[in-house]
Symmetry: C2
Subunit: 365 residues, 2 copies
Amino acid sequence: MAIAQRLERLRHQLAEKSLDAILLTQPETCRYVSGFTGSSGPAATLLISQESAVLATDFIHFEQARQEAPDFDVITVNSSSQRFTQLLSGNGKLAKVGFEANVLSVAEFRRLSEEAEKARVDMVPIEEIIDCLRAVKDEEEISCILRAAFIADTAIDFIATEIHSGMTEKEVAWEIEKYIRENGSEPIPFDIIVASGPNAALPHAKPTDRPISDSEPIILDIGARWKGYCSDLSRTLCLGQITKRFQTVYDIVLRAQLSALDGIETGMTGVQADGIARGVIDQAGYKDAFGHGLGHGVGLAVHERPRVSPGSTDVIQENMVFTVEPAIYITGWGGVRSEDTVVMRNGKVQPLTKAPKNAKPAEVC
Amino acid sequence: MAIAQRLERLRHQLAEKSLDAILLTQPETCRYVSGFTGSSGPAATLLISQESAVLATDFIHFEQARQEAPDFDVITVNSSSQRFTQLLSGNGKLAKVGFEANVLSVAEFRRLSEEAEKARVDMVPIEEIIDCLRAVKDEEEISCILRAAFIADTAIDFIATEIHSGMTEKEVAWEIEKYIRENGSEPIPFDIIVASGPNAALPHAKPTDRPISDSEPIILDIGARWKGYCSDLSRTLCLGQITKRFQTVYDIVLRAQLSALDGIETGMTGVQADGIARGVIDQAGYKDAFGHGLGHGVGLAVHERPRVSPGSTDVIQENMVFTVEPAIYITGWGGVRSEDTVVMRNGKVQPLTKAPKNAKPAEVC
């Protein structure tokens, strides 16, 4: 049902761009359009025209593709270079075919071009079509992300009762991951971040053997996955006595986040949405301490469109799902980040993650 | 120490190919050459010439890069499009710069070309240099892979004592993953495969809620990760009474694997090495049932060079690490795969994974 609708939207785009067909290889996009869950790495190549939908895969994935993508004609190819030949040749109807310029490598494109020339097909670079389709979620997708968000929320509740001074970052991360996996999540969408003290100044820190202590910031950044769909959630905790500096920074970040959650509306661009939170942080005197965008789309990939960041012209639309995650990072001291996954409903932000936003674990749960 | 040697080998290659510098973005390659462990996704761009080594990253990764890549000048860039400008401009010495044609997307290359034109730099597509350097491991790398192999071996011992009829594939997979993670592994390099009965006919099956039963094939394909380096190991088990068909297929696959482990020598091409195992399977009457290559290189990536498969002209060299994994798949019934990670030493194969190869779990442990 969902697949039929997605194919219809895609075909509408093809007609608009005067394309006879589109060639797709990006794994999450292939899953989105066909239902084929593939594996790690590119396992399928799709060719979709107004009349047909073909999925080319190798021997390894043939059975799986047939079961998962009933709306597609599944064919096998012996090697990845052959897939272009088999898909393009013998189809006299194709004159202009789109390809994902942001996905195909230069080397792959060179091979594709050779085959396209033989088949007299003009390959047209397409960057936006699929990413923009995927950015607006249907109800089924929103349900999946909500479920993934729920699992992440409960993991925060859980760890709030378990975390204590002396545990290492790695131990905390593994406790969270086990909880997430044992409460319904598929393999998690990204490595969990537990960053304590000075490590919290690294936005993408990896958990270390550092024991966490009282009175320092501890950033938890976690996600779960349900039927392929991701959630993304950060909270910053502080065990024991909260220092004045922590409280000050925490309050600014929280204020920035609440302003964005309250102020973002459909029709805004990414840079406008980002600016709401960034303005609060700048005004509080931390102008250079928030060195990444406010957020990013979340779906089958944990980072997708829309971009909610300085310079982004992406327009926030109804049923887009993305993160709102302002932060302040201070080298040597640490950092604070507060992140929710949200959906646009009736023109306004509706959070899908709902874990409490108190820095004291006891108050979190 | 290792980094200095790798840079030296790379610079030797640059001189051989008459390149002034090379631009690198592939995450595992960046880690290999610089020590920077990055994050998921491309976080760094390296530019290496005879005189200098520069690592460009964003604000998010700056601190981490400075700590992890002391042999590099670390610079920050505000956006990924700016990295090319900053790296190429103002450096009048560069006339010919190599780039990874199999890594950069068509869209990225378009942006790179614009900057290269402004800076009067000729960009030269390079596909092989780095992949071939990475294919031959140094002692430090082999130690890491051995440790990852050891963890996978012990996970097979462990699950042999736990697995029983009625457990679902997902339950078995999760027990294995927990064991691997709690015994020293970093996040595992690929989703564990537990494929039972007919599911074992899908080489890359995902674990399902299917309960495993007696007298059917159960393929376990698992890996661990140590300091970034992967292992890859498959065994096929059978609970309860072993059927005649299982025993027949199992014996052929095992014979094919032992022939390859015994027969592969340095100087052979990938297709020759593959042919040793494939010949055994073909002769036994299962010609079309082994539908993938015999193996693939293993290192920082779980799939890298050399390719050990039909059509591969890669030459097997001393200190290459790769898998040897013949298999037979029969639609409707299932399959058998036996896989080891091995290293070439003194011209011959030396297995790094050593889990027993008995189909009966009781005999495995």
